[in-house]
């Protein structure tokens, strides 16, 4: 991890489920895409907590943090974390079908 990044190499893999969700909320609020080393540790933390849904949610967040440059950042990150995802058994967002909306859900304001 380069110097000066906010998220540094840390033992995120031993985090509790509660602390991992706090971390992911901070990542969503921060202005930038996290580095692949940190993503790998968070995924290992999800594995240790036996929470599969959290891993897919985190991957969605990382993808949408790219913003208008999603087409440039997302393939690079998939390239870097592909091996660990295959090890842990996490399927990609394309296989799940979550790169596009799956269901049409009624907006709460229109109920």
């Amino acid at each position: 991890v380069s110097e000066g990044t906010w998220l540094e190499k840390n033992n995120y893999a031993q985090f509790d489920g509660w602390e991992l969700r706090q971390l992911i909320n901070f990542v969503a609020a921060d202005d930038g895409v996290p580095e692949p080393e940190i993503i790998i540790e968070v995924l290992k933390g999800c594995r240790n907590n036996n929470d599969y849904a959290l891993a897919t949610r985190f991957l969605e967040v990382v993808r949408l943090k790219g913003g208008n440059k999603m087409s440039e950042t997302w393939p690079y990150i998939m390239q870097e974390i592909g091996p660990t995802m295959q090890e842990l058994g996490i399927s990609t967002l394309k296989e799940m079908g979550y790169e596009e909306p799956e269901l049409w859900l009624e907006n709460v304001d229109d109920m």
């Binding site: 991992l20 909320n25 969503a28 849904a53 058994g89 799940m96 979550y98 909306p101 799956e102 859900l105």
Partner: protein, 227 residues
Amino acid sequence: MTTLNMLRCAPRALKKQPIWVAPSRNIALTSVNRDAPATTGSKAVLPGHEYYPGKEEYSPVIGHREIVGHGEIPYYTDSFTVPCPAIRFREVDEALGKLREKEKGDWKLLSLEDKKTLYRASFNSTLEEVRAPSGDWKRCIGDNAILMALMFLGVSVIGFADPQYEPKTVTNEWVDAQTEYLIKRRVQPVDGIASWYDYENNKFKPTWSIFTTKETSKSVKTLSEKE
């Protein structure tokens, strides 16, 4: 607009469905032991689920859903700014408990359906569905178009039905007096009204019939008889 929005609650009230569930008064936030960690007294509720704090205090607000994050009164939201809320979405079931035990094993053994049910158990919608457009602009433009149509109908039909708004220069009496005056003054003798009147026989020439309807033809006959 707030009254319109309140009227949308009417069918729900008629069916005696709750519109908003208020938390009961038994929630005593002071009694929550905040210093204790999450895994105090792990009582197995269902296979795969352990005891979670605040289970009895928040049940009227959140039901049998698992608390998974920080928050004084936990609630569920779907948004990109808070992607991981404090509680899961769906309640605890036996089938879900079995899935959770399967989740503790190897994730490669999970089928795609299992993964999707696990995701929908924790979250209501994906973040892409949150970004998807709702198509509400069609409703807005349609409602406005209906209101504008009603307004135009009201002004054109109901507004002009009042005899106050009828101009007097359109009645047959006025027009007859007007034509009598014009013919006496011999205005427009080349291309106009005086050229269509035969002053020797005191009649209108046959070309005048173009400008007549059933009602005007009677008044024209009386005029020609007079002169």
